[in-house]
């Protein structure tokens, strides 16, 4: 766990790439795997956002949820996380979700946190 903010990201940087990545449609989500970690990727306003695909409340997959504005809503108990910061906006979760930086180039998605 990250010692700075208590989020579930590890304190050392992790990065990885996903080849042949197809961006989800605007306002939709998809799930990818990087270094064995499931990551939810959303398209909002034409931009890609990525967070850990595991809700910090009870572990449901956020990519099965829904994008609302710049937030992702967990499909189980509707915790709402800011896709840009990982912050809990409302609902039962207490711990922020890990955020990944995204870069898409020639069909390859680079993720880093």
């Amino acid at each position: 766990m990250c010692t700075e903010c208590g989020c579930q990201a590890s304190s050392t940087a992790t990065q990885g790439t996903v080849t042949d990545f197809v961006s989800p449609a605007e306002g939709e989500l998809t799930s990818v795997s990087v270094e064995g970690v499931a990551v939810a990727v959303a398209t909002v306003g034409g931009e890609l956002f990525a967070v850990d695909d595991t809700c910090t409340h009870q572990g449901c997959s956020l990519s099965d949820g829904e994008v609302e504005g710049t937030a992702v809503v967990c499909p189980c108990h509707f915790g709402r996380f800011d896709l840009r910061t990982g912050k809990v906006l409302d609902g039962p979760p207490e711990v922020p979700v890990g955020v990944w930086k995204t870069r898409l180039q020639d069909g390859t998605l680079e993720l880093e946190r």
Binding site: D64, E66, P75, C76, H77, F78, D90, P92
Partner: protein, 403 residues
Amino acid sequence: MTTAHVVVVGGGLAGATVIRRLRDLGHEGSVTLVGAERHVPYERPELSKGYLSGRLEIEKLQVLPPSGYTELDVALRLGERATGLDAVRRRLMIGTEDVSYDVLIVATGSSNVRPKLPGMELEGVLQLRTVEDADALRLRAGPGSRVVLVGAGFIGCEVAATLRTVGADVTLVDAQPGPLWGPLGRQLSERVRAWHETSGVRLLMGVGVVELKGEGVVQTVLLTDGTKLLADVVVVGVGVRPEIAWLGEELARAHGGVAVDRDGRTSVEGVYAAGDLAAVDGQRTEHVNAALTQGARVAAAVVGAPPPAAEPEWFWSEQYDHTIHLGGLPAAGDVFVERTGPFAGFFLRDGIVEAVATIDNGRDFRRGLRLLGGRHDPSLLGDPQADLRKLAAGKVEPAGRVE
């Protein structure tokens, strides 16, 4: 009133939510939490599921870790039970001691109804509300043990699923025609019944319990139709009642609880209520979401912040690998429109969507919530191709009307 001394009575989710939100909103006054349980506030839903099965430990259920209360500068008085209220002098009684407050939040929740059945005092007759209750059940109900669940509501159904999964021999008994018949209605009840039957739970519906028998320890359960069930453990889950006896007659009552307005104000100045016991506009709701939204509204009212947006009431239930979501209030006689594919159902009354339910389909549930209170074409509601988001925005034209 950001410097007021706030005393929160009740260490459950509602009380913990009020505290979190007060500090979020910049409340600087001292805050005291009085809780009858010796634990910091935790979420109860997993007591019948992940905690009961041993998959989750108590730390995972806590709303905040114990250190969180130090960080929020909250004085914890756990394992202490409020015994009375002097609203005129603004004092909360805890046994022989009294604690002064500027603002009091009543969030003592509810307690389980104990039916007047012969044999309720026998060893092995359990209920489920607290961590200790779950520990006792975990200890007694294992592979092969015979468990009789009295009441096929949320507790009965979820405990049945969890204990069946760990290999117990489980029987569900309820006077209603099917499991969760009251809160979910017939169509969903039938699906829940099928999960339990497939998993090997014995369902005895439409029968009541007459007596629990045993020599010190429960051994048999006698039913109204004469059936005798052998039992090692009996779990009684037949509903709850608000935990308000300690309050005396100081606060106005409604729906068996404490009457409050939408911001959680009671009939007495400086006293608010939230959670299971709070009857908002005459309606009580015993679900997690109500504790969260009411807690947030109370905190906003205390500090004078704008109230959070109103949300429809909803809840979930998890059994086996399935999650049911239900929002709004279905009633007997509603027209039920089923959407095929991932299951979603809409309860219509006079053409208005009054409730929505989904199974393993949280996305459509969330979208369906936005349809509540609206008039929508049943053929579109039932059409898996029709996008519920567009329906909510009024952007889907019924087929045939397109030019």
